[in-house]
Amino acid sequence: MDRRTFVKAGCIGSASLLIQGLDPMMRADSVPAMPSVELHGLPDYKPSPFGMPGLFPGRVIEVRDQNAIVRNRVSQPIVRRMLEQAMKDLTGESSVQGAWAKFIDPKDVVGIKINPSGAPACCSSPEVIREIITAVRSVGVPVQNILVYDRYSYEIDIGSYQVLLPAGIRIVGIQDAFTSAGAGYEPNVYCDGNFFGEWETRSYMASIVVHDVTKIINVPTMKDHSASGVTGALKNLAYGSFNNVARTHRAPHSFTNPLIGMMCNVEPLRSKAVLHIMDGMRQVWHGGPLTQVQEFIEQSGILLVATDPVAMDTIELEAIEKKRGERGAPSLWQHDPASITPDSNVFFHDASKNLFFRQPGHVAAAGKLGLGVADLKQIDHHVL
């Protein structure tokens, strides 16, 4: 049982089965048809030129340093140097401040979208977030105009982000996971689709995304994902900015493809997400997104920087696929029914098993929506 389910199971008993997507009343024996999906963005919103794929379509900067993480501890000074190198290389600017000023204006309200869902074993490193905050402040954004957010406050709590980030930064858990699921979300911006006969067919965009922030810096982690294949820039942004998203996968099927890209395409999310910084200090090659099993977590010391989330996730997908191959795990693209298990405990400890038929094709599908470049040959992947 994964940690998120573990916490919830202790709290709400059988309801956790529904959250996990294993409703015993819903035995899917055949692949369900993709339902029609309605997207309702913010009316009359003028798209920004900063919007995905952003200022540098198809360009991904990768920085590696084995000393960036030693004995599971991330080095703040090395992360600082890596991020500075990557930002200058991405933008072609000679100064770090100049690089950040390409994206951030002093008048911006900056939202930093973290991924705490695998905390504490694999989540957006506080060291990386601290460096981003420092950089944003260096451009002239006042501390009170920087907020760090994700969906679940309890996951942020487990990661101890509150205590590890500088004073003055707002840290926002949009919902507490157990109550008031509608609070904190904008009722007029939503994605409507009935995937498995669920009673609530809408997923709403977070109010802070719609109304509070003017720019988003997306900080995904480098992980496989039991339903979507990988969780990278696209999934962190989409499924962390909309609510009620677990309903899109019900074992063994998943509609993460194409929904992840569709959600990223909704305004104002598409326009506001101007920069993606993938924290690959730790690389989860099986058990994601919630695993705490260190055997499946490699301490890689990687940082990826891009404005194009599709290109970034394509690079991530290649890296995870390669790692799985090296470790003898089946491909993320494999759809063998024999690999499916309904037992999350089995999944978490056996890399040949999975809960869903993974959907790594969601990355390319997002590319078809114009969110970025999914063709590896077309991606300018610059390794420093």
Partner: protein
């Protein structure tokens, strides 16, 4: 205004064995040692639904259980029947564990204030402001309330009326609860340092750096300050100088707070283990896997250690073996209240249980 003694300054042996008036039972965080046998519960006497997540720990005094929820509501629950006698709605979410001082219930709020509520009537007595959320539990010593705030300051206010005495800015956010000794305060800070302040003035007496921020609340004995850090280590420091006497490396960061009993100390780590040490030497007595992640604090009963980590566990204090497990009480920071023949649990989902 107040008639009862300063409950938060008492040790367990001074209190009724059924009271549990502050975080980990008392200001010394000894977690009820010696007075409260912890039997495996056989049934739920009652269950109370808060209507919102509960992140903090309940406290018990004079037959009333005081619990605060993330939606900002403080309930006073009559433990004989499991119903709310009164509730108080604060202006923001509450993550702070309440504590008692005479007639007042004290707790911090995300609106930046510490509230003092009349424990009989549920009416506000006073409020004391800070500039950011207060997740720490207010602690009272010698008529002064001490609390830390996410604005990076430690505040001292008058326990009678909330009037400010002093404030001291440190180098990072403060989420842990302060330990208030007779003349010194001890606390951990987001800047990674463990601080000792002079109670009367807030002057920094010493500070000792660790390798990352501190979410843990210290326990203090005659000669040692014990605390965990997000740098994965448990630290035991000299009370007088802050010198590191010993430290022990766990597998991940530590948000749990230690509980101590005599020469026994226990603390959880995010690596999922509960660790037990010889307090003076730091020698590991045992470690036991109790969950995938442990962020809550243990409470020490008579011969056992209880902790909430996805479920609720009681471990043999001598061996660390799991004596019993109850599949409820999943929690991030809550601590079981061990009150004679009854255990009170608050779960993250907002369920309050009385188990017997």
């Amino acid at each position: 205004m107040f008639s009862d003694p300063e409950m938060t300054t008492q040790t367990a042996k001074d209190k009724s064995s059924r009271d549990w008036p502050t975080l980990l039972g008392d200001n010394a965080r000894i977690g009820g040692q010696g007075l409260r046998p912890v039997h495996a519960p056989e049934k739920a006497v009652w269950q109370f639904r808060m209507g919102s997540a509960v992140r903090s720990a309940p406290v018990l005094y004079d037959g009333m259980l005081y619990v605060a929820s993330v939606n900002g509501v403080l309930h006073a629950i009559d433990v004989t029947v499991g119903t709310s006698k009164w509730k108080f709605e604060a202006a923001g979410p509450v993550h702070s564990t309440p504590s008692l001082f005479e007639n007042a219930i004290l707790f911090g709020c995300d609106d930046g204030k510490v509230y003092a509520i009349d424990r009989h009537l549920g009416k506000k007595l006073w409020e004391a402001p800070s500039q950011s959320e207060v997740w720490s539990s207010p602690v009272v010593r010698n008529g002064v309330v001490f609390f830390g705030s996410a604005d990076g300051k430690v505040y001292a206010v008058d326990a009678e009326n909330g009037h400010p005495r002093w404030s001291q800015e440190l180098g990072g956010r403060i989420y842990g609860t302060i330990y208030a000794a007779e003349h010194q305060l001890y606390l951990g800070c987001g800047d990674g340092k463990i601080y000792s302040l002079e109670s009367a003035t807030g002057k920094v007496l010493w500070s000792t750096p660790t390798g990352n921020g501190i979410d843990s609340s210290p326990a203090v004995t005659e000669n040692l300050v014990l605390i965990g850090s997000e740098d994965f280590f448990v630290y035991a420091l000299s009370v007088g100088t802050g010198e590191v006497r010993w430290k022990y490396e766990t597998g991940l960061g530590i948000a749990s707070s230690p509980a101590v009993s005599g020469d026994f100390a226990a603390i959880g780590s995010k690596d999922g283990l509960l660790y037990a040490f010889d307090l003076q030497t730091g020698k590991l007595r045992w470690k036991t896997m109790v969950g995938e992640v442990v962020t809550a604090s243990p409470a020490i009963g008579d011969g056992s250690v209880c902790i909430q980590a996805g479920a609720t566990f009681a471990l043999d204090i001598a061996s660390g073996k799991v004596l019993w497990r109850a599949d409820l009480g999943g929690s991030i920071q809550s601590v079981p209240v061990l009150a004679g023949d009854t255990i009170y649990l608050a779960s993250l989902s907002g369920e309050i249980y009385a188990l017997r």
